[in-house]
Symmetry: C2
Subunit: 222 residues, 2 copies
């Protein structure tokens, strides 16, 4: 790899990680807004989305520049295509964080539903999956990537439990329906963030081992 | 553009369109399965997902090959990056079609909900958006792309109406809750397919006019 390309790839990686931090921060705030009923934090997430979108555009432009100027091949080319895809995934996670924040804002102004919902555990798992998938990408470490893949089943299971619990709450007290539908959406969005983290981990395994493990599972939520 | 690159780009476009047709077909079948209560069609969609996934991988590999062998720059490079992104979006639409099919399969074995739900109109709009966004991409026609963007508001409005109608149905008769939650998901998945078609249309405008119109709107479904 030329010194030029090496330097450009390092800058690219740094920019992608910076987007990653912004998205992790948005998910953090959105979920604290939900759990601690903090409308102020929800607003911060909603207002912060523009910066995430701008960063995504910037990373994509950087990728195009590296492709045009250095014309990388083989592993370097694969890495840049992975950066393009992860960049896209991170921006979508940012959108999901905004959607969670919007629902947290609504719910913070309503009476809580009296159902046993363990969002904290789900949130912890999802954040860990995202952080570790980015760590795996930067270190090109398939061990970390594969541990992320294993964690996805737990999140799917929690999401299914949420659906059952919330449907029961709605049946028991139909006045909760609107709030419960918002909470169903939050659960589904968290599960989507976990799925997108899984995508990143799968890309890392493919990039390093050449083994395609994408498209193995899809979660069916009822 | 060299003759070599031109030929490779034509092959790439053809392959992407072939994936597009497979996804349009899956959405068609999944939505007929829903509206006409056809579990057999739902099963076809679920079984057909592997072929869509394989085609996505193939298109991505083709992109990598074109990048490595022809080292395109400027507009050609931008087009290939757009193909990579659209490829990803199409595969996600395929997943959404599978999810709709799974719910159609479940619902076909249950009593229909007696609520006024106009899925046909929503489905027609979504399919039109997808077809026209692909048409815009192939023809590099920003006029068609911009007409797709305008259609998205209608779909968002129908989705919001679905949410209101289904929440009312649940309140009126709590025994409908599980079926209604499935229908909420179908509505949301259709809205997501419309969003992904919007992404494609936005990419076309950016590619042709250099004007960035991504990240303008997000739909908030309650």
């Amino acid at each position: 790899m030329s010194i030029h390309l090496q330097r450009d790839m390092e800058i690219l990686t740094k920019e992608l990680l910076s987007l990653g931090s912004m998205v992790v921060d948005a998910i953090n705030k959105a979920t604290i807004a939900l759990i601690d009923r903090r409308a102020d934090l929800a607003e911060e997430v909603i207002n912060g989305d523009d910066a995430i979108n701008q960063k995504e555009v910037q990373v994509e432009e950087e990728c195009m520049k590296v492709l045009a100027l250095n014309q990388p091949v083989a592993a370097d080319l694969r890495f840049i295509v992975v950066v393009l895809k992860v960049n896209n995934d991170l921006e979508r996670m940012g959108d999901l964080a905004v959607n969670i924040a919007e629902r947290a804002d609504y719910l913070s102004r309503k009476e809580p539903i009296s159902a046993s919902l363990d969002f904290s555990k789900m949130v912890e798992g999802v954040k860990r999956m995202l952080n570790e998938s980015l760590d795996a990408l930067i270190k090109k470490d398939t061990g970390i990537a594969k541990s992320v893949l294993k964690m996805d089943d737990d999140i799917d299971a929690i999401n299914r439990t949420m659906y059952v619990t919330l449907q029961e709450a709605m049946k028991k007290d139909p006045s909760t329906i609107k709030r419960a539908v918002h909470l169903l959406s939050v659960s589904r969005h968290l599960e989507r963030i976990a799925d997108l983290s899984t995508n990143i981990a799968e890309e890392v395994v493919f990039m390093v081992e050449g083994e395609l493990i994408r498209h193995n599972t899809e979660c069916y939520t009822d």
